[in-house]
Amino acid sequence: MDVNLTINKKQITLNLKGNETLLEVLRDHLSLTGTKTACQESECGTCTVIIDGNATLSCITLAANVQGTEITSIEGLAQGDVLHPVQQAFIDYGSVQCGFCIPGMIMSSVALLEKNPEPTQKEVEYALDGNICRCAGYPKIFEAVHAAGKKMKK
């Protein structure tokens, strides 16, 4: 069947069987391997993308069910060579270590900050509670999110 998806502002038509998850479509069909999975069961958050402004787990999203929505993956954030403020902040504040959780963490952060560029600490913690980071212990991630929000507000 033909499935029409809008991914990173591009319209794509794929010939699919219909039972593919969005994560499979991103990684296997479109080679957009920035979105990961560490559990395949909606617990780890590394598969997080943004759908219609909301942080969404692509590993439990049926690709055929999100036609007509705006899907953004990590590859859709930078404008050419210019990084998104959240991406830049994660580098500047030393928030990245092994990096495996970071695409999902950044997508959750961007979704939060686009709705609320000046979140409280508690709001940041709640927005990121679906993204496990095993390396960084979170403080530097929080710093980066707050700093990026300030930039985005301007």
Binding site: N19, G45, A55, T56, I60, N65, G68, A127, L128
Partner: protein
Amino acid sequence: MLLNPLTLHLPKTSLEAARLYKELEDSKVLAGGTFLLNSMKLLKVKGTKTARNILSLAKVDELKGVSLQGDTLTIRAMTRINDLLETQLPDGHLKVLHTVCTNISTNPIRNMATFGGNLTCRYTWTEMGAVMIALEAKMHFLGADGKEEIIGAEDFFKNAARSEKLFTHVTIKTRMAACAAYRRVKKTVHVDVPLLAICMKTEIKGKQWYNTRVGINNGVAFAQRDLALEEFLNKSSSSPDLGKEALEHLTTAIYDTRSSDYKKHMFRVSLKSAIEEISLSS
């Protein structure tokens, strides 16, 4: 492939959805997908067959949204948990709807999971049931013939959360003099489901409680009322040590069967605390 072959059905109206709900064989409803898609993956890994027809409600706009008209709050089935959390609610007993939403799973799950899915998924540990019982919610179902059926939340859960018709929305009457409290014991160390959840609503005149509803979720059975406790609270609410005394009037079967010492302790701590919160707020 992580999922078995399937056919996706995408109705645009609730009537179309209700008809497909009745007619489709070997089918499951896809609301938020946070339960269904996980379990379909797991079953496939085990080599178990899964439903061939998937009835998605994603495009049924009539099933989305929260509205307050007069004294009736309507929450439609496909409202996402975070959407309910972000909806402005009047001060008072309805605020427990926000509290219960904050506790559900994690943020991306709250973006995807739906109010309707939580109520109808038939997992005994989902907490929305206890809240609906306490708020005396009426659950509305739509038949393939277009006729609506209304079941009280309490009765729905007494029937082990089963219905032949498609769930469309709940209506809740807001009451001026009502207060409510919600308690949940945090996710335990080992298993990521709530150990217990309680929701208590009452209307207070002077110091007298009346029309008290206590919704209990003990994780073992579907959400239910504790009639003995409600009766006690309605009769004795002027007592100064209400929280402590109320503990002697619990329906033991709800709290103690299959409960560890810690769970029994936490039921009592939570109930006492909820009663004290309501007493203070009045």
